[in-house]
Symmetry: C3
């Protein structure tokens, strides 16, 4: 699968520079500031617009929380591998910085496809672009350690486009609700990535390489990622909802779901181990499933009670997935899922979609009062809650369809021997693509003494 | 003290699942959204309520800062131990996720005890629950390394209840001011934890175990915790104050107190070392005492000048505590205070309570103008500033009483041989409760070569 | 250059305590709360002032992001050195906590020099003080590993004063725009620090010490610093701009500049390595140059298109600087720039100043509408855009002049043999100023076995 050479000397500069130049040209042609970025809102058209009504103050703190999740959260979550920390954090950084630019264009283009006009950018587009980037990074988690950076950039190009198309179908055509992206981000990213890694299957990965595991310190680095994702997930789910009580409620529901999820994660992690010992992989990942599983329903009147039930189930499903389903996927279906994204994003994403559809059934005046239209703008006497629930269910099917088919096609594109992919024995190893420094001096001294001894013996 | 088995195979799942199920049921029965979470405020009753007046926008950024302090701040501060990083971060995570749920219920119940009705949740309840959680984590710092996770969950159940009762007495019955929790959070958490660790005294801890210390990298991990606590303490103290100038002032005062505290910490750390070398334990902990010591007075007109004096003193006291009082507590009073919470939270908390009482004496129209009622709603011509100061002083006594007595009782409850507590030789060791991965490959190779040699020698 | 003794036993306590006492006295004499901190705005003078109009809500989230950049960002960015992590994070902490207090006084004094009256403090002064601190920490990066903490505190005293004078000349006298500090913070801090390290030149540094390099884990710690700087740079550049659309636009432009910069950094890092391997030094530093280079122009109508071009160039220049200019500076000009601040802050800062001057040329009604006065308050028919651009250019010259001359003078002050500076062989070594714990137990065991063996051999 890999070409003879893994050198990035020309491949990576060409890819990065070509992509960035294209992005810059397209931004020059097609993008302009949104009204309350350019100042038109405040200065030209509407003299009663106050500064504090600028979208910036409603959304920028949430944006920054999401931004931390994308770069620190995803980046450090993947540093658990013992010799792949540079790549985990570093390629996460590269792919994210690229994806958010492309996503701005593609999402913006689809947004203006009906109305025409230029692509408007502002804090909302920044959040939406980060969301799309999150989906790409989920897929990155599935193929982590087995791909070159150019391969990843190529995957990102296709995935950003497919993500945006799927998102457009769900939110604009089917009128589905999915503020936190149970379907658009998590389900899509996970199943897309799983198909890519399926096509890129490496039969000799296990035999040739023992670096697909953690060491003590790398697991603690990974907990930095976990905790930032966990803490800021309420901001993630609520970042793009309507202002006021809806944003407030979305954050609150997510907070309870995550708390309940954490307890079920610890419970099932201990229960499934023969000695009752906790497994860091579960804690690092499954405790987050509560955020994923509330990605659709968090803005609805699901109540803290409902949120906690969903979170509890999500944690349990996710731990069981790591224990039983991941080995099954690898041995039977030849799906090598490095970070277990199926357990953190795949199954909890589907659960979230189902919970969203069920919760939509209660979308009535009785539960929402005059706020009903704010959450479900399409619901009327002609389009009842059950119809909304149906659209939610159809949205899940559409998402799975596009993710699975898209992932297979993109997988084959990524199989071309042009990307400098690592050989099986080079997987999970930073040294292929990075200048890696030596060990701490004390260890070097030990090693030096040791080799001195050995040469002594030889003499 | 420990039962023969430390297995968490059944204990932890039973505890987590039972507690979570009870929480979920109680949330289902007793909890509902606050007005500006459900949308009632915006949509039903009051058409002039603007989105930007939603409590969410006043408090959510502060809440997220507090949240980071609880999960990253406390969690990483305790990773200084060389082989207890998984437990420090991981059990901190578990206990916090549990405590914030229980705290919501208990604090909410006491809040509605007069008025009746359901418990209302929103961003304010989230902050208050995190505050209570902070107090539990302070106690966790005192017993760190010597307790099982089930023991910790049990402690949390009792401590959350006692914390909430004490907080209710102080804030609702005695009308004390304590926005940043010098008394309710820090003094309470520290002395409660010190009593628990006193009852759980392990006479052979020092002889059998040398892991109660740091290594180079673990001290750098701990600095992540320190710095997040330090940076976000202004948000912590101001998170729950009234809006506007009071919140602004609280953050500002805390910022100056911490800055001055840092300089005195470095000064005294160098001064107390024979070679003038700085001690990481002091930097990691004492530099934070300035935030603790302003927990009561930060919202008052203490001025930057006063804040800096308090911060300077707090840093000095805290370093002196680590140098002289912690060894005394351990050798004479049999109080084994793993993280030195007496120095970071205990003494600075008492200092903060005293500073609060003294600053209250200046609670006059002259200093506060029309803002007096906002800070001290009870002060009138019949209830002068001196009466407020008296209430502050009484509050400190009440807090110490409940913490000391409560800690002793809970300590004895935790002594029961049912929790799977570690033996003395298992303390400060992740391997008891966690699947711990091996060392980095390079070290393994060294070790392998070594053992090869040894077997060679044996032959 | 170093005195015989490096002991901080008396030096550091005397310096810290003396400085803090002076600060406290000056704060007591000269500082008072700003209007919306004391509550005068809300309660006394203006009954229509709403809480949500308090400056706190516009700026505090940005302030906290800046605060994280100062303490975690700068602090961890410098932990890349293998045995200097305590000092990097710890002295960064000390110097920052000191500098922000002094900066409040000096900036505040210059601010009131025309109008008289006391120095007002609030969230704006907090941000401005953190900005000045950032400049000091840039200089700290140039001399990192080669100076004592007392030397650093001394440098900070002078640099804070010179920074504030330069800032006052630029912003108040020359009416230059520089919201994100391309000139005031980055150019000033870099060239000041480079001159200091030039005067403190150590000819034998390379021969005697091999610790001026990273190890695997220290590079991952450094990435924490990098990513926080990268993520929060939009907050940095926009923290102190006018409210509303300007703040919104500044954050947005910076976001795009950084994204483009990241791709060019990866491209040039791979291109300049013979095997096409990425260099962590480039990723950690050059990817941030896009934020520096937009420090002046980000609030202007530079558009995302323009921002991305600037970011792309900045990344390229910075990587080229690390590869070619830093070795040249060291070998030919005797400037030992530990962190390469010339590449991250120096050249990109100058680029940012030039971009700002050029962008100012388009400061017309046509581009800005009624918002023109908000961004460029001085521009009128008598003072056209070209005059503004001229002032921007003059500002760069003034900044370079003060930084270079000031740096040389302060360098000679720091050469006095009274600070306990380390000898050449003690550079980049925590053990000189810190109690450093041993290695992890496993390594100790290895070492113990080893030394046992050796003594066996001796027998």
């Amino acid at each position: 699968m890999a070409g003879a050479s893994t050198s990035m000397r020309l491949r990576l500069p060409i890819a990065c520079i070509a992509l960035e130049v294209i992005l810059i040209i397209l931004f020059g042609v097609a993008v302009e500031y949104d009204h309350d970025v350019s100042g038109e809102a405040g200065h030209k058209t509407n003299t009663t617009h106050h500064d504090y009504e600028n979208e910036f103050y409603y959304r920028y703190p949430s944006f920054q929380d999401v931004h931390v999740m994308i770069f620190i959260g995803f980046g450090f979550l993947m540093t658990f591998l013992q010799r792949y920390g540079f790549s985990s954090v570093g390629f996460n950084f590269l792919i994210a910085a690229f994806s958010l630019q492309l996503a701005t264009l593609v999402q913006g283009f689809l947004h203006t496809i009906m109305t025409g006009g230029k692509i408007h950018v502002g804090v909302e587009s920044m959040i939406n672009a980060d969301f799309c980037t999150g989906s790409v990074l989920i897929s990155f988690g599935a193929v982590l350690g087995k791909t070159s950076p150019v391969q990843m950039l190529t995957m990102a190009v296709f995935e950003v486009i497919l993500f945006s198309v799927n998102e457009f179908i769900l939110l604009s055509l089917l009128n589905a609700k999915d503020a936190g992206g149970s379907m658009t981000i998590h389900t899509f990213g996970a199943y897309f990535g799983l198909m890519v890694t399926r096509v890129l299957y490496r039969p000799n990965l296990d035999k040739s390489n023992k670096k697909n595991s953690s060491v003590y310190h790398s697991d603690i680095f990974a907990m930095i990622g976990t905790l930032y994702l966990w803490m800021f997930w309420p901001s993630f789910n609520s970042a793009i909802t309507l202002h006021g009580d809806i944003q407030h409620r979305t954050a609150l529901n997510t907070y309870y779901s995550l708390a309940a999820c954490t307890l079920s994660t610890y419970a099932f992690s201990a229960l499934l181990n023969h000695e009752g010992k906790l497994d860091m992989v579960h804690i690092q990942n499954a405790a987050l499933a509560g955020g994923v599983a509330l990605g659709t329903a968090a803005e609805m009147m699901i109540t803290p009670f409902g949120s906690m039930i969903v979170g509890f189930l999500a944690g349990a499903i996710s731990v069981l997935g790591y224990r039983f389903i991941t080995p099954f996927l690898e041995s039977k279906l030849k799906i090598q899922d490095t970070c277990g994204v199926h357990n953190l994003h795949g199954m909890p994403g589907i659960l979230g979609a189902i919970v969203g559809a069920i919760t939509s059934l209660a979308a009535t005046k009785e539960h929402y009062g005059n706020g009903l239209t704010a959450v479900f703008p399409k619901i009327t006497s002609d389009f009842p809650a059950s119809a909304q629930a149906g659209m939610q269910a159809i949205s899940l099917v559409v998402t799975l369809g596009i993710a699975l088919i898209g992932g297979i096609i993109v997988g084959f594109i990524l199989k071309l021997p042009i990307y400098g992919a690592p050989s099986d024995s080079q997987c999970f190893e930073d040294g292929v693509y990075w200048e890696v420094p030596g060990e701490p001096e004390d260890c070097q001294e030990l090693a030096a003494v040791k080799s001195g001894e050995e040469s002594e013996k030889l003499n």
